[in-house]
Assembly symmetry: C2
């Protein structure tokens, strides 16, 4: 009996050493007061942790358990924070950050023709999009956005800037039936886009895409060419769809049906399509988009600010459509890239529009910014939740501020109270792109240069418009 | 000639000293990249300054000019910021900060009866309102709100907390026709309120007010008693008005008219009335409120989140009514006290509701949060703009962040891009209540205690509701 006891005691004493010997090595262990996984069961872990190896999540659970299983090279502790999946912005034009609020409170056509189009024609270049995208990545990394879906010009340069900043992007070269910076006709557009698709093929963080601008700005030939190239290269198709009443009217006059029905008649719609806005979709449109498994990118702030209307988000989700959230660009449509604000706007807009305070509850809104967006992008094998096997795209949101205290429900706090300024940590593929507590909070981005460049471009843009 | 030159040289050398001798003493000189005064001409000063003496603004203009006129004891420099009037929150329930987001996404009556009313009945006390108001003042000071209009219970304790935190308040004791914390019937309500009004009479920062809850929760007798007391003490009357469709229906059944027309028939409406919400006002109501010079407090986020509806703000302002902005309380209606977000919501909501992108432009929105609110509160001789003679209630909003860069128009930046986290300085009556660059950013508030208290109260409140 005594021997048995001594043996047991010996084992107990030796246990930590034996146990340490069985621990597996990982790169990083991130611990937090609460881990919100956004997995299928919406599991959360109080005093939880995420283990990361090779940029991927290898374990999620209670911090005490993970400490027993993993020997990390580096530990990041955020005891007062919620750890959550990185946010996914499903529609923006990142380079337009250089024109933030260049003209507000104007009718859409006046805004486009007096400010945006001339400013773009005279300024947009590879340097412009690199500076603008870098400024946008700085804002996104700060605000917890790890993946963004982009439509602009010189998208290969957008990709280069995104790659350098360490963010994840689905980046679409814009096709439109008039000459734009970088390509003057369809033939050149196809060449530029093909080069872009080939250059970034297989990149882990950059997905090169094709972005025919909209049904009212692209001819049938343009749309068919985009479809063919998408098929050939397996590239996503990004498009603005049913943003304004004018678009509805134009397409109905031209094709006899809605913009959605026209795209459907061309065979354009499919699981690789992201349709931005969807403000004026009717029941038949929603049915079609669901049948084709299209992701709709809902942009509440842009639709409100430009007075485009209100997208029927509740009806779309009820029909089973995946709906992601987008900020749109900041040159008059928003004017920032905050996904926290976008969740808040999406929720409140849905409630007041349906006169139903239970519409789009907080957890659904957080899902639309993470899990549901990833599923709609057909990237849910890689991002959108904190689960072993997925890319380590994650954020810490501090709850120590007066504005987030007290917290009765993590989803409510994340959606209705927290702001981008509460993010204290942003990782993409396990790599820190923002750490509020580090000496250099943006290890991948030269913050000072990005802000200084914004000032220089502001002067150039104003001069190009004949302003002071 | 040589003598004359020597004399001139001598004068030139002596000039700074002579000049200094003519400088007047002031307490503080605040300089900034841009001063946005919100005076009648919307004057702005690049590299501007504000001089403060005895808590009042004594001079505003180019920094170079003020440097020649004033010898300050203390200088605060914010070269990358906009200096602007402090923001005025015209409707909130500060103490409810302890119940931030306690239950969201519920129908109004379920929210009230299952959470708010029982939580209030079991917890609200002088200690509760002091802790809640202090937490709210911490959030408001951080976010650039210098004046707030409040409706709650134990309002004398709300006043004590507000006074201690250094903010300015128009604080109304709530009257309602059922027993509430602190008073069980009208007689007790009158006594408590009279004591409160007398106690704070003549205070420079605290305006004690009477807050009959709403036309549907107060009988005619209650409203008449509130009117009489208001007349006797010169106290403002704060009331919820036309917030929901149910209220419209109830009042129409009871009185044959709208809530506004009922109040008008009692002689309730006048320049000392602040009417919160005004969602369901019709043309006749707006005309009446304008004739009586009532301030309407517009709460876009609350009206959206609770699905109350959309207030006809554009029509109200077109009729010449003063419309201020309010956050409402944070226990489900918002869930924060950010006036920056409120400006943004108010603008975007007006645009999408009217389908007019030019509705409520940025400068009007900033005016509603400053100048117009002050005018509506009949406090524009004291606050609402940066002008000599007014109280030195002012904020600095930093433009050095990626999110506020570049800036093409100060009002656009303040309303559509800046957030409460961009505020780096908040002064009330010339006294620092927040300075992001100071060792102790909140010299008037014990930040750690306020946040810790929030955690303690959270536990008590949950326990009182039978939750974990």
């Amino acid at each position: 009996m005594k021997r048995a006891f001594t043996l047991l005691l010996g084992l107990a004493v030796a246990w930590p050493a034996l146990s340490a010997g069985t621990k597996k090595a990982c790169d990083t262990l991130v611990t937090a007061g609460l881990v919100v996984t956004m997995d299928a069961s919406y599991a959360t872990f109080r005093n939880g942790a995420v283990a990361i190896l090779g940029g991927k999540i290898v374990d999620v659970g209670p911090a005490a358990d993970l400490a027993g299983r993993w020997a990390p090279k580096k530990t990041i502790a955020r005891p007062d924070a919620i750890l959550a999946p990185g946010l996914v912005n499903t529609h923006t034009h990142a380079a337009m950050n250089l024109m933030r609020g260049i003209s507000d409170d104007l009718p859409l056509m006046e805004w486009l023709t007096k400010s945006i189009f001339p400013a773009e024609a005279r300024n947009v270049s590879p340097d412009f999009v690199k500076a603008g995208t870098t400024l946008a990545c700085l804002e996104m990394a700060r605000g917890g956005t790890t993946t963004f879906v982009d439509m602009y010009y010189f998208e290969s340069d957008v990709a280069a800037a995104t790659e350098a900043c360490g963010l994840r992007g689905v980046l679409g070269e814009t096709w439109i039936d008039f000459p734009v910076p970088g390509h003057k006709d369809l033939a050149e557009t196809e060449k530029v886009t093909r080069d872009f698709l080939l250059k970034w093929k297989g990149h882990r963080r950059i997905t090169a895409a094709i972005a025919p601008h909209a049904p009212y700005t692209c001819s049938e030939a343009t749309l068919r060419a985009a479809m063919a190239m998408s098929k050939e290269h397996g590239a996503p198709l990004l498009i603005h769809l049913s943003e304004t009443r004018d678009e509805q009217k134009t397409l109905r006059e031209k094709t006899g049906g809605s913009p959605t029905q026209w795209l459907e008649s061309l065979g354009f719609l499919g699981p690789n399509v992201v349709a931005a806005h969807g403000v004026w979709l009717d029941e038949a449109d929603i049915k079609t988009l669901k049948a084709r498994n299209v992701l709709v990118a809902h942009n509440p702030e842009s639709n409100m600010k430009l007075a485009s209307g209100t997208a029927p988000v509740v009806a779309m989700r009820k029909a089973g459509l995946d709906v992601g959230l987008g900020t749109d660009g900041v040159a008059g449509s928003n004017n920032d890239l905050s996904m926290f604000e976008t969740m808040d706007f999406a929720g409140k807009l849905a409630k007041v529009t349906t006169l139903d305070p239970t519409a789009l509850p907080a957890r659904d809104l957080f899902s639309m910014a993470t899990r549901e967006a990833a599923r709609g992008l057909k990237m849910d094998d890689r991002i959108g939740s904190l689960e072993a096997g997925k890319e380590a795209d994650l954020i810490a949101v501090e709850l120590s501020d007066a504005r987030t205290q007290p917290s009765y429900d993590p989803y409510s706090t994340l959606v209705y109270a927290a702001k981008e300024s509460d993010v204290s940590l942003t990782l993409v593929e396990g790599r820190v792109v923002f750490d509020a507590r580090a000496k250099d909070p943006f290890p991948t981005i030269d913050q000072k240069k990005a802000v200084a460049d914004a000032g220089l471009w502001r002067k150039k843009i104003l001069a190009s418009l004949g302003a002071k």
